[in-house]
């Protein structure tokens, strides 16, 4: 699964730590999601989409291998 979290974060100009605080997760979680090492739960994905004001599909995209 690919995600454009880093891009969205850059657009909003917010650090990982700040984002983690707003969403209410650990900094490690945000970092691991950006690095593609962790697939967030639906709840977390929805929270992120709500924060960025974009649909989940725009932030997270399926890859061919999924």
């Amino acid at each position: 699964m690919k995600n454009s979290l880093k891009v969205e974060r850059a657009i909003k100009d917010i650090t990982q730590e700040e984002l983690a605080k707003v969403i209410g997760v650990s900094r490690q979680a945000i970092n691991s999601i950006e690095l593609g090492k962790y697939v967030p739960s639906t709840i977390l994905a929805l929270k992120l989409s709500r924060y960025f004001g974009k649909s989940v599909n725009e932030i997270f995209k399926l890859e061919e291998t999924d």
Partner: protein
Amino acid sequence: MSRYKFDRNRKFFPGYKFGGGHWRSVAVQIISKPEIYHGAGFKLRADERVRVQEPLQICLECRSKSKKCDKQLTHIVRVSSRNYFVVYQQDICHNVIYTRHIVIYSCIYVNYVLHLFYNLNLPKMDTRFLLPNKFKLMGWILLVPSTILGLIQLFYLSGSGLKFLDVKMFTIYSGNFAPWGSSSVILGFDKVNFTGTIIGIFFILGAVMVAFAKEKHEDEFIAKIRLESFLWATYINYAVLIFCFLFFYGIGFMYVMIFNMFTVIILFIARFNYILYKTTKQLKYEKQS
């Protein structure tokens, strides 16, 4: 979807005749041809209404003969193909067929267990069962000294304890190596040394506190690492134990047993904290860039 119908009168296994109409017709979808072992048949996807033959029920964990659909049946299973009939009809020695069946069904079982592992859908860990974050420091304070004292007791005092900790204590069973020997005490008072007991209890309390105290920011990612680390620690522990079973005997094995009482939790703590450390380190690189 193709319909796979078993002949009513043909024995599926040597010496085993299966009856009951509803076990026979199986709607199946052939996914791939057999590639791992000969005669194991096609890889089939069973739909909800499928009933599978008895030996396969074992690996499907479904024992009931009721007509209710079993959730487990939706898993991909290996359903034996016609090769069995061919083998049977050729009248090869029964023992050979039995051995083949044992091998094949073991493979099916292992395959199913692996399948379950791959699709392990771990529920979100309930943090109610974790201790508050404060316990972490307390745990370390207990764990470190008791580890050092425990090692000292084991290697320098060779298992014996401090004199002033000799007490008379109620025991369920107390005795020497020969079980139920003349000097053993069952459900009575015996003179025991408390050194090891105290160190052991402190160690366990400390280790549990360290292992199960919440992180400062406990979330689903941490919960995932936690669960993964547990699986990993258990695997490694038992792998090491098998190794020790093979290469340690006598009093050496007793030492292995003593250590093995504590290794699962130690491995868990080590692995969990290592992964946390690694992800935090990544974070620092991220900040610099």
